[in-house]
Subunit: 331 residues, 2 copies
DNA sequence: CTGAAAGCGCTTACAG
DNA sequence: CTGAAAGCGCTTACAG
C-alpha cells in the first residue's frame, strides 16, 4: 500500500501539498493538483483514513442504538439515517442492544473512545441509561417521546393515539379497547394518554377491563393480549393496538375466536409497517414518516457534531391516519 | 480528555508500561498494574481508539453489504452478524446499498481506505461487482448461492426448493406453479432448478404458464404475480413462492380472486420470516437458520482477518420445511 | 501557493 | 519487568 510520501515523491511536491490537493484542492495551484492526481492515479493511492481520522480527531461515524434492528418499523428509520449519513460522508455503526443495558453501554463506549462521533438513540426511555448520566456527547433521540430535553425527532404520540380513537368514535364505537405495550414504556404511556383524552372528550367512562398490556411489541404478545380481548364478557366493538405487530397478533386471536374483523370488531394499529396493507384484513394504522425521521435525526446529529454546539431542537413531524379494511362502523 | 502520558505521569511509570498494563496486563508487574489502574480510574482515562487503530493498522470494524436492511429476513441475519462481531470486539458498519452499485462501491472504499477490515456480502451475484475485480480483501458471502468460490455461508437453495415441491407432490398435487424473483437473480435460478428437478423426478412435464417471474422480492410484486396466477385458465392447485413476501402478496391476490387457500390452492413461501406464522393462513415455508448464518459468516470473516489467510470454506447449513395451514391435500 | 517541521496518541522492538 | 525512543500516515500552523 502506498502512502502520502510516495505520492509526494512521484509528484515532485511535498506531502503537505499532496494533502492539500486531496482535501482542499482550492489551496493548491492547478499544476500541482495535476501532478498530484497523476501520481495518485499511477500508484493507485488511497489515503489511510485511520491516519486521517486520528489526525483530525474525528471518526466520521455514528452509532445507532436500537433495541432491535429486526423491527419492521425501526429498520425503515435506520435506512433513512444511513442515507443521510452516507450523503454527508459518515458511516453508521450498528448498535443492536437487544434490550441489554450492558450491550448499550458497550456501544456508548464507542463514543467515549472516539470511535464514533455521536449517537442516535431509539430507546425512548432515559431511565437507567448511562446516557442520562453522561450527556456530554452529541446525541439525538429518534422516534421517542416528550420526556427528553435533548434534541429529538418524533411524532406526537398522544395526538396520534387520540386521532385513532376519535376515528373510532366517529364510526359510532363506544366500547373501545386498547392493547398497550409494557406499562412503563414511554410510547405506551403517551399513547394511552391520547386514548384516555379522546374518551374523556366524548364523555365515555374508562373501563379498566378494556385496557390490556402486552409483554412487548411483538406479534406473539399481540396473540396473547388478543386472546384476553376475545374472552371479554362484554365485548368491545373496537380495538386500538399500540403497534402493527400487536394488531396483527391480536387479529389472529380474535378471528380464531370466531369474531369477525371488522364486522364484529374494528382493529387499528400504529406505525404502518409494510405488512399492514397486505394483512387480511388490511390494517388501519398511523403512518409515521420513518424515512424522514431517520434522515432528519441524522442531519441534526451531524450538525451538532460539526458545529460542536448542542442544539435543543425538538422536531415534531406529522403522522397520517391510514384507513383500511380492518375498521368499519360499529355493529 | 486525558491521554496516556497523563496516566503514566500520575502512575509514575512510562507510557509503555501503561500501554502494556491496558492491553497485555500479563507483561506487567502486579504493582505497576495497580498503579496504572488507579491512575486510569482517577483520571477517568479512556484510550483513544482512533490512535490505537491507526497504530495497529486495524479498524476492528466490518461492513455489511446488503440490498436492504429493511428486509425481515436479512435483518435477522444482520443481528447474528452483529452479535458475533460484538463478542469478538468488532463493530459493524451498515452498508445498505439500495441495489445501487455506486453506493456499493462507496462501501467497498471503506475497506480500501482501512476504515473496515472486511466485508460480509449479502448480494448473491458477483456480476458487475467491483468485488469481483478486487478480491484482495477479506470477504465472506452470506445467504448466497453456489456461484462463488469465495468463502460463504448459506443453505442449499436447490435442495430446499426441491423439498417444497416434493412436499406438494406428496400431498397429491400435480399442477404446481412457481413465482420466482427476477430471472437473473441467483436465488431464483437455484430455486427454479430445484423446482424443475422435483417435477422431472415425478415425471411431470413442465408447463411454462406455471412459471411466473416477479419484479423483485417484495409483497407488492407478489400481489402482481399472484394476480397472474389467479387468472390462469387451467388453475394450479399448488404455488411455490420464492420468498415469504411474495407468498403473502400472492395469497392476497389469490384470496381476492375468490380462490381459497389452501382449499383450492396450497401456497408455500421461503425464509420463514416472523410474519409467516401470523399470516392468514399461516404460511408453510422453508426456515433458514438466519441467526446462525450471520454469526458464522461473521466469525469466518474475523478468522480471515486475524489469521490473514484466505480460507476457502463454503459452509452449507441445514434448512427446515415448516408446514403450516397454507398448504393441504390437492383438491 | 509551497515546504519544512511538529505533532496527534498510541504501540512495540530494543536494550537493559 | 521496565523505559527511552522511534514511528505509524496523516494535517496544519508557520514562515517564506
Amino acid at each position: 500500500m502506498s502512502n502520502i510520501r510516495e505520492v509526494s515523491q512521484l509528484a515532485g511536491v511535498s506531502t503537505a501539498t499532496v494533502s492539500r490537493a486531496l482535501r482542499n484542492p482550492e489551496l493548491v495551484s492547478k499544476e500541482s493538483r495535476r501532478k498530484v492526481m497523476e501520481a495518485v492515479e499511477r500508484l493507485n493511492y488511497r489515503p489511510n483514513m485511520l491516519a486521517r481520522n486520528f489526525r483530525s480527531e474525528r471518526s466520521y461515524s455514528l452509532v445507532i442504538l436500537t433495541p432491535s434492528i429486526a423491527s419492521p418499523f425501526y429498520s425503515r428509520v435506520i435506512r433513512g439515517v444511513e442515507l443521510a449519513a452516507q450523503n454527508r460522508g459518515y458511516s453508521v455503526l450498528l448498535g443492536d442492544t437487544r434490550d441489554s443495558l450492558r450491550r448499550e453501554d458497550e456501544y456508548i463506549e464507542l463514543v467515549e473512545t472516539r470511535l464514533a462521533d455521536g449517537i442516535i438513540q431509539f430507546r425512548p426511555s432515559e431511565s437507567n441509561s448511562r446516557i442520562a448520566r453522561r450527556t456530554n456527547f452529541p446525541i439525538v433521540y429518534a422516534c421517542g417521546c416528550a420526556d427528553t430535553a435533548l434534541p429529538s425527532v418524533r411524532i406526537d404520540n398522544i395526538e396520534a393515539a387520540r386521532a385513532v380513537v376519535n376515528y373510532f368514535l366517529s364510526l359510532g364505537h363506544r366500547r373501545i379497547a386498547v392493547i398497550c405495550g409494557p406499562p412503563e414504556n414511554p410510547h405506551s404511556i403517551d399513547r394511552l394518554a391520547g386514548y384516555r383524552r379522546a374518551l374523556q372528550d366524548a364523555d365515555i367512562a374508562e373501563d379498566p377491563d378494556l385496557i390490556v398490556h402486552a409483554d412487548d411489541y411483538s406479534m406473539q404478545s399481540g396473540v396473547k393480549a388478543g386472546t384476553r380481548i376475545a374472552e371479554l364478557h362484554d365485548s368491545p366493538t373496537a380495538l386500538f393496538c399500540m403497534n402493527d405487530e400487536i394488531a396483527i397478533g391480536a387479529i389472529q386471536s380474535i378471528k380464531r375466536a370466531g369474531i369477525s374483523v371488522p364486522g364484529d370488531m374494528s382493529v387499528a394499529g400504529f406505525d404502518n409497517i409494510d405488512f399492514a396493507r397486505h394483512y387480511d384484513p388490511p390494517l388501519t394504522t398511523i403512518d409515521q414518516p420513518s424515512d424522514e425521521i431517520g434522515q432528519m435525526a441524522c442531519n441534526m446529529l451531524i450538525d451538532q457534531i460539526e458545529e460542536r454546539g448542542v442544539s435543543q431542537n425538538n422536531v415534531i413531524l406529522d403522522y397520517d391516519l391510514i384507513v383500511r379494511a380492518s375498521t368499519g362502523p360499529a355493529p
